[in-house]
C-alpha cells in the first residue's frame, strides 16, 4: 500500500457540487480509471479516498488535494494519465505526487474573491477589514449539538489585500483553514456585507491553494 496525493482543479459548473458530491464523483472516477485501490481490512472494507479540506459549495479551486491509498505498482504518471481520461467536466487532475503532509497540517487557505465594483466599495472593504471587528454567525458544534456561534472574522484572517481592477474589486485573502479553525470566504463576504452595508455582488471565489502554519505550501 502507498499513499498518493492527487491535486484536482474544480472550475465552472463543477463549483455547484458539494463536498459529498465531490467524494462520490472521485470514487467513481477512480473506479472508471481502473486504479487498483487499497481497501481497509475489516467487516466492511472500504477504500481510502479523502479530500484534505472540504471546499464550500459555489467556490472554485485551482488545487484540491485528495489522498488515495493504492495497491499494485501503478506509478504516479500512470495514475495521472488514467484519471485525467475519466474526469467529469470541470474537474481536472493537476498533478499526482507521493503523499507527504497530513491534512491536519493545513492552517490556511488562499482565496481570490472577485466582486462587482461599486463607487467607494474597495475603500469600504479595506476599512472594514482594518477595523479589527467583523462579526459573523457560524453554525458550530457545542458538544454533540449544533449551535450558532458568534465569531470575529478578523481573528481568522491571515492577510487580505484589496485591489480595484477593471470594473471589479478583487480581494486576495489568506484565511484560517483546517479542522481547528476555519473561515469560509462566503461567510467573510456576509460579514463584509453586513459591516459595510453594501450588497456585495460576488462574481467568483477561487481557492488558490492551501498553506501550513508556517505559510509554506501544504
Amino acid at each position: 500500500m502507498r499513499s498518493i496525493r492527487v491535486t484536482l482543479a474544480k472550475k465552472g459548473r463543477a463549483k455547484y457540487l458539494s463536498h459529498l458530491d465531490m467524494q462520490r464523483c472521485m470514487m467513481r472516477a477512480v473506479r472508471r480509471a481502473g486504479i487498483e485501490l487499497w481497501y481497509t481490512e475489516g467487516f466492511n472494507p472500504h477504500p481510502y479516498v479523502t479530500f484534505a479540506l472540504p471546499l464550500p459549495l459555489g467556490v472554485e479551486s485551482e488545487g484540491e488535494p485528495v489522498e488515495i491509498r493504492l495497491e499494485g505498482d501503478a506509478t504516479n504518471e500512470d495514475v495521472f494519465r488514467a484519471l485525467s481520461a475519466v474526469m467529469p467536466e470541470g474537474i481536472e487532475v493537476v498533478s499526482v505526487q507521493d503523499s507527504t503532509a497530513k491534512p491536519n497540517e493545513i492552517a490556511f487557505a488562499q482565496y481570490q474573491i472577485v466582486l462587482q465594483n461599486a463607487p467607494g466599495l474597495a475603500d469600504a472593504i479595506r476599512q472594514a477589514l482594518a477595523s479589527g471587528d467583523l462579526p459573523a454567525e457560524k453554525l458550530g458544534k457545542a458538544g454533540r449539538k449544533k449551535a450558532l456561534k458568534q465569531i470575529n472574522c478578523c481573528d481568522l484572517i491571515g492577510s487580505a489585500a484589496v485591489e480595484e481592477t477593471n470594473g471589479a474589486v478583487e480581494i486576495n485573502a489568506v484565511l484560517a483553514a483546517g479542522s481547528q479553525q476555519n473561515l469560509s470566504p462566503l461567510l467573510l463576504l456576509d460579514a463584509l456585507s453586513a459591516k459595510t452595508g453594501e450588497e456585495l455582488k460576488c462574481l467568483s471565489v477561487m481557492r488558490k491553494g492551501l498553506l501550513k502554519s508556517d505559510y509554506k505550501k501544504f
Binding site: 455547484y16 458530491d21 464523483c25 472516477a29 473506479r31 472508471r32 472500504h46 459549495l57 467529469p88 467536466e89
Partner: protein, 624 residues
C-alpha cells in the same frame, strides 16, 4: 451551458447541482447540425427523474441518431421555480441551457398520476399554453409516454399525442415523421393526422367522447382516419433492442444511484391488483450473456459500484442462476454489488442475497400484500404464510435483524379479519426471530409493516372494483394499529388522501382535464411531495368544475360499462380481465404463466410468442 441569469440565482437555491447539467456522459451536440431537438421531461425533481431507467434508454436512443439531440428537463423545486419566475428564466434543457419552448418535441413520461400537475407547471414555466388546442404551431409538439398513458384521458386536453407501450421503436418512427413534416411545412393538424397512422400512436384530439346521462362514457369515436383502437407498441426481441452502454452519472446524489440493467419485460404472476403485471405483457426475456455484457459495460463507463437487475419480479427470470454466476466472475473482483429488487418470498435465498452484496446489508423487504390466505387468493398473490415465514426465518438465521413487509388495505372482499391477520403475521415474524437458536446476542428485531391503500387501476382485473372511501381506510388503519401486540413492530402508512386522488385520476375520463387545470391554477404543482399536496385544493377544484371525485374512485363499475380507456389495446383482452375479476370474487387462484397459460391474449402483440410459454416448454424438454 448555463446562462448568466441562471448562474446568478443558483447559489441562492438548495442543491444547485440539480440545475447545472454537465454530468459525465451527458451528450452535447451542435444544434445547427440537428433537425430535431427533443426535450425529455420528467415531471418530478432531478433526483427522482434521474433514477428512472426509461429516461436513460430513450435519451441514449435519440442521441444515437445524428439528426436529433435529446436533452433532459426536470421539475424545479419550489425555490428554483420562484427564482425562475422572478428573473424571467424560462424552463431550459440541462445540456444546452436553451429554452425548451423552442424545441421540436417536448416529451413527458407519466410514471404516476400525482405528477400530472407538474406537467402543466413545466409547460407554463416553459412559456407555453398548457392546453393542446392553444398551441397551434407544429413545434413544440407535446407528447407523453409511460404507464399512465394506458389511461391518459385526464391529460387528454394537454398532450398532443401519447405513446402507449414501449418507446424504443415508436420514438424513432415519430422523429422520422416529424422531420419529414417539418421540411414540408405541415400544420400541426396535418402532422397529428399522419402520426395517428403510426401503430402505437394515440392522438387524443382525434377521438370524440360522448357520455350517458349517468356520467359514464357512451361512445368513443375516432375521426380523420384515426384507428378505432390504438394498440400499444412492444419491442419483440430484447436481445437486440437498443440498450445504452453509458448512463449519465449524476454529480449529485439521486434516489437510485446505481447502474441498472433490465432482465425481462412482463410478469408471469398475474397478481390481480398489479397494473404493471398486465400492461407490460407479453413476457420477453433477455439472454443472460446479453444482460451480463450490459452490466459490465455500464459499470465500466460509469464507475458505479452497484448494479441492479431490474424487472417486475427478478426471481422469476429463467436464466437468473447462469447470469449471477457469470456476473460474479467480475463483480467480486471489482467489488461491485448486485441488487435484486422485487424478490418474491417464495423464491428468496438468504445465501444468494448475501453472496451478491459483499459490503452493504440493508433490511429485507417482502410483499405478502394481504393478511389471510383467502384474501391472497382473491388477489392471486400465490404466496403462503409458510413461505413468508420461511423466508424471514432464513433471513434471521443469516444475520438480518430487520424485515419490511408490504400490505394493502381496502382490497376487494376485505373483511376486518383480514386486517387483524396482518398484525398476527407481523407477530409471527417477530416470533421467528426469537425462535432462532443462533440469534445474535443483544440484538433486537424490527419488523416494519407498510400499508398502502389499494388503488384500482385500468387494465387490471380490479379495474371495475370500488376503492375504499377515506373514512373506511382510516377505520381500517386504526383497527390494524390496535391489533399490534409487540413494540418490535412498526407501521408506516400511506396517505389516504393521496391514494384517493390517485384512484380518481387513474380511472378518470378526459373531462378531468378541467379539474387538473383548475387545481394547478390554484397552486397544485408537485402533488407527489407531501410539502405541496393539498387535498382541499383538489376537492375545491372538483367542486368548481362540477365533478364528484367519488364517481371515479368509489363506484363499482359494471363489466359491461364502456371504460374511458376502451379504445386502447394493451394486448390483454377485456374478456381475460373479466374472467380474472370473476375468479377473484370466487376466491379462486390462477396459476402463473409458466404453470399454465391463462390465455390473456398479450402474445398476439408479439406474433403469438411469449417467453413464459416458450421457456416453460423448453424447460420441459430439458433444453433450457
Amino acid at each position: 451551458m448555463l446562462s448568466k441569469k441562471v448562474e446568478d440565482v443558483l447559489l441562492s437555491v438548495q442543491k444547485p447541482g440539480r440545475y447545472t447539467g454537465g454530468e459525465l456522459n451527458s451528450v452535447m451536440k451542435d444544434k445547427s447540425k440537428v433537425d430535431i431537438r427533443y426535450a425529455f421531461c420528467f415531471p418530478d425533481t432531478y433526483e427522482v427523474g434521474m433514477s428512472h431507467l426509461g429516461i436513460k434508454i430513450l435519451y441514449s436512443l435519440v442521441n444515437a441518431r445524428e439528426d436529433a439531440w435529446c436533452e433532459r428537463v426536470f421539475a424545479p423545486w419550489a425555490d428554483m421555480e420562484e427564482k425562475m419566475r422572478e428573473n424571467g428564466i424560462p424552463l431550459y434543457a440541462l445540456e444546452s441551457g436553451d429554452a425548451i419552448a423552442d424545441f421540436d418535441i417536448i416529451g413527458f413520461t407519466l410514471q404516476y398520476e400525482m405528477s400530472y400537475t407538474a406537467v402543466l407547471n413545466m409547460l407554463d414555466l416553459a412559456g407555453l399554453p398548457v392546453r393542446s388546442s392553444e398551441r397551434t404551431a407544429l413545434a413544440p409538439l407535446v407528447i407523453a409516454g409511460g404507464p399512465c398513458v394506458c389511461n391518459g384521458e385526464p391529460m387528454a386536453e394537454f398532450i398532443d399525442l401519447m405513446l402507449p407501450g414501449e418507446g424504443e421503436e415508436v420514438t424513432n418512427d415519430l422523429i422520422d415523421l416529424l422531420k419529414e413534416h417539418k421540411k414540408k411545412g405541415s400544420s400541426k393538424q396535418e402532422f397529428l393526422r399522419a402520426a395517428a397512422q403510426i401503430p402505437g400512436v394515440y392522438v387524443p384530439s382525434l377521438y370524440d367522447v360522448t357520455y350517458n346521462a349517468d356520467g359514464t362514457v357512451q361512445r368513443i369515436t375516432p375521426k380523420d382516419g384515426a384507428p378505432e383502437r390504438v394498440t400499444k407498441r412492444i419491442v419483440s426481441d430484447l436481445d437486440h433492442v437498443f440498450f445504452p452502454a453509458d448512463f449519465i452519472v449524476p454529480s449529485i446524489e439521486i434516489i437510485h444511484d446505481r447502474a441498472v440493467a433490465e432482465v425481462f419485460r412482463g410478469c408471469i404472476r398475474g397478481c390481480r391488483f398489479c397494473q404493471a403485471g398486465y400492461i407490460y405483457r407479453p413476457i420477453r426475456e433477455k439472454h443472460a450473456d446479453v444482460v451480463n455484457r450490459d452490466c459490465k459495460a455500464i459499470c465500466d463507463s460509469t464507475g458505479y459500484d452497484e448494479v441492479s437487475l431490474c424487472s417486475l419480479s427478478t426471481s422469476d427470470y429463467t436464466e437468473l442462476e447462469p447470469l449471477l454466476n457469470a456476473m460474479l466472475d467480475w463483480t467480486e473482483q471489482e467489488r461491485v454489488n448486485i441488487a435484486l429488487p422485487s424478490q418474491r418470498a417464495d423464491r428468496f435465498s438468504a445465501e444468494l442475497t448475501q453472496r451478491l452484496s459483499s459490503v452493504r446489508r440493508s433490511g429485507l423487504t417482502f410483499a405478502p400484500e394481504a393478511g389471510t390466505q383467502r384474501l391472497r387468493d382473491v388477489i392471486n398473490k400465490n404466496i403462503t404464510e409458510d413461505e413468508i415465514l420461511r423466508a424471514c426465518r432464513q433471513a434471521f438465521e443469516a444475520g438480518w435483524t430487520s424485515v419490511k413487509l408490504y400490505f394493502m388495505l381496502g382490497l376487494p372482499t376485505e373483511t376486518d379479519e383480514d386486517i387483524v391477520a396482518i398484525a398476527q403475521m407481523a407477530q409471527k415474524v417477530v416470533d421467528e426471530f426469537y425462535h432462532n437458536p443462533n440469534k445474535p446476542k443483544g440484538k433486537s428485531v424490527s419488523v416494519n409493516i407498510s400499508v398502502a391503500p389499494f388503488v384500482p387501476k385500468p387494465f387490471t382485473p380490479f379495474q371495475w372494483a370500488a376503492q375504499n372511501s377515506k373514512e373506511e381506510l382510516l377505520r381500517k388503519q386504526q383497527l390494524l394499529i390496535s391489533s399490534f401486540t409487540s413494540k418490535k413492530i412498526s407501521l408506516s402508512r400511506h396517505d389516504t388522501d393521496v391514494s384517493f386522488l390517485e384512484g380518481v385520476l387513474a380511472r378518470g375520463d378526459r373531462r378531468l382535464s378541467a379539474v387538473i387545470e383548475t387545481a394547478w391554477r390554484r397552486g397544485c404543482k408537485l402533488d407527489s411531495w407531501s410539502e405541496f399536496f393539498s387535498i382541499d385544493t383538489w376537492l375545491e377544484s372538483f367542486a368548481a368544475c362540477g365533478f364528484d371525485p367519488a364517481f371515479y374512485a368509489n363506484r363499482v363499475r359494471e363489466v359491461e360499462e364502456m371504460l374511458p380507456w376502451d379504445h386502447l389495446d394493451y394486448g390483454v383482452t377485456k374478456a381475460h380481465l373479466a374472467r380474472e375479476y370473476q375468479k377473484a370474487r370466487e376466491g379462486v387462484t390462477t396459476p402463473h404463466c409458466r404453470v399454465h397459460c391463462a390465455g390473456c391474449g398479450a402474445n398476439k402483440l408479439n406474433g403469438g410468442e411469449c417467453d413464459a410459454l416458450y421457456k416453460s416448454y423448453a424447460r420441459q424438454k430439458g433444453q433450457s
